[in-house]
Amino acid sequence: MVIIENLNKFYEIDGQKQYILNGINLSVQKGECVILKGVSGSGKTTLLSIIAGLDKPSSGKVIIDGEAVSKLPDMHLSKFRAKKIGIVFQNFNLLEGVNLLDNTMVPLIADKIGLKEAKDKALNALKLANIEHKANKIPSELSGGEKQRGAIARALVANPNLILCDEPTANLDRENSLKFISALKKLHSMGKTLIIATHDPIFEELDFKHKVVEISQGKIGFAVDA
């Protein structure tokens, strides 16, 4: 499903290369759940954003479903992202002033879809994330956990196979974190591939993870198959 080959990301400052990611090799099978562990600044977020095509690598390759995403032109990359990848952000990233239903629709809109169909799909996704009763609320009226579920609904709406989560529980209390994990389990049982970047110890207790990858200073420290 996801193959990362010799991935580098660096910035050149005064002619010196500052590596953020250095020679990453990783492969994730379909349906797997992978935890990227590491302290802040270790590069796990950068790795996640390169996998999602939000950022470009300095060299190396990311292949998702047989497509080399990092060299795709914007139009294709965006379409690819809309269809194949769902992202759950640390700070939820819902559009302010737009209700949850419309927020969930956003990934579909660029794909020239009818409004009715888009709303139906969005409502389905909200149901899946157990938040459809708040469909008409705007983000500022929602609690952190509700926002998180909204974000999951948005990540699911286009029915992607790959779900990426960036520090998903960083802004949640323990109760909501547990709820989030049960939601992840549901996704896992649906056969989605999950890649989660986190440093929250709560994920240690996860019973369905396949792999834990520790990243430190831009390198893969060790990878454990669970």
Binding site: A52, G53, D55, D74, G114
Partner: protein, 390 residues
């Protein structure tokens, strides 16, 4: 519409930023309102003048003395009648009568015995009243004249003071409608003889002679023949007048437009700065859109359509309000720029004229300025890196 979720999102986005856009729409419509009002007035006057040119004789023959128009002998009419191809030769008597050193009226003498004038007069006043009108020495006055006379308590008649010091009393028969005030506001129509007296002309003297030449291709020859009647004759053709009217109001419209361009340049600059500022506020939002799968092209489309919506909204609003201001409310304040304000108050009503040329002029000038000033900021925001959402 297959794409209507996009449209829905577009409107959602516009309404969400309502406060931010309201200011832009208000200023834009105000600018369009001002420009359209001015151009509507000038094109309306131009159209009315061009329309009334139908009634304008093809040629006017004047007598020039010392560079000024001097009375011409009425026996010149017979000389002109001898030229082949000439038709409807009419005497015209007109001139300014000053009520005091500021206010004046244009006295026009009309030969009511002339069959042609008679027929037109019938349509101007009801034919049943025509006999009554011709029975006495009476006059028809324009709205502006009426207004002036009324403030001086002359409701039924006026005593003109002729240049030789005599009083000439003429009854007021009718007031011309303000609908024709663009050309008749300060006019006083009276019988030819009375006009001659009021203007101090001798009986065989008239102001000038009008004539028609039905065949266009004869115009050059007839003009040459008229010129050769006397060395101090001036011949004015209808085409000269049309051109003069055209440039008279083009001039004002054009001058205003040049000033307006400066205003719109300032507006564009402000718009540019505002959008650049807004771009930094919107970065996060656009980054989210990009992160969930919108391409640069989609964002560009969204932002451009938003602005096109604004432009169209402001354009319809501004130009419709200008239409109401000019053609329903008769452009208070602004009217005097075109009609002047120092003589009799003008009661002109403007003929509603919606000229495609004028409308497209306003639209083009505004769209070009607006869209070109937001183009680069909009692009800058559309290429926001999606990783900024993280």
């Amino acid at each position: 519409m297959k794409n209507n979720s996009f449209f829905y999102f577009l409107t959602l986005n516009l309404l969400k930023e309502k406060r931010r856009y309201a200011g832009i729409v208000i200023i834009s419509s105000l600018l369009i309102f001002l420009l359209s009002s001015v151009l509507f007035i000038s094109s309306s006057i131009k159209q009315t003048l061009n329309y009334t040119l139908k009634a304008q004789p093809d040629f006017i023959v004047q007598n020039i003395k010392g560079g000024k128009v001097a009375p011409i002998n009425s026996n010149m009419v017979n000389k002109i009648l001898n030229i082949y191809g000439v038709e409807k030769v009419t005497k015209r008597v007109y001139g300014r009568y000053f009520f005091d050193d500021k206010y004046s009226t244009l006295i026009v003498g009309v030969d009511f015995l002339d069959e042609q004038s008679n027929k037109n007069l019938e349509t101007l006043i009801n034919s049943t009243d025509l006999k009554q009108f011709l029975s006495k020495e009476q006059m028809i006055i324009g709205q502006g004249v009426k207004n002036y006379l009324k403030t001086h308590y002359y409701n039924l008649e006026y005593n003109f003071l002729t240049p030789d010091g005599q009083m000439k009393n003429i009854k007021i028969f009718k007031t011309l409608s303000s609908k024709s005030a663009i050309i008749s506001n300060d006019e006083t129509i009276m019988p030819l003889k009375s006009a001659q007296k009021v203007l101090g002309l001798k009986e065989n003297k008239i102001t000038d002679i009008a004539l028609n030449v039905p065949n266009d291709s004869e115009w050059q020859t007839v003009k040459a023949k008229l010129q050769s009647l006397n060395f101090n004759i001036r011949v004015i053709s209808k085409k000269d007048m049309q051109k003069a009217y055209e440039s008279l109001f083009n001039y004002k419209g054009g001058l205003f437009l040049v000033l307006f361009l400066i205003v719109i340049a300032t507006f564009s600059l402000l718009l540019y700065l505002r959008y650049t500022l807004a771009a930094s506020l919107e970065r996060k939002e656009i980054a989210i859109l990009r992160a969930v799968g919108w391409s640069i092209k989609d964002v560009l489309k969204l932002k451009f359509l938003e602005n096109i919506f604004l432009v169209i909204f402001a354009f319809i609003l501004g130009s419709s309000l200008a239409y109401i201001f000019v053609f329903v409310l008769n452009a208070p304040l602004l009217k005097n720029i075109f009609l002047g304000g120092s003589n009799l108050t003008n009661f002109a009503k403007f003929t509603p004229v919606v000229d495609y040329g004028v409308l497209s002029t306003i639209f083009i000038i505004f769209t070009v300025a607006f869209l070109s000033s937001v183009l680069i900021p909009v692009w800058k925001i559309a290429v926001t890196e999606p990783k900024e959402a993280l």
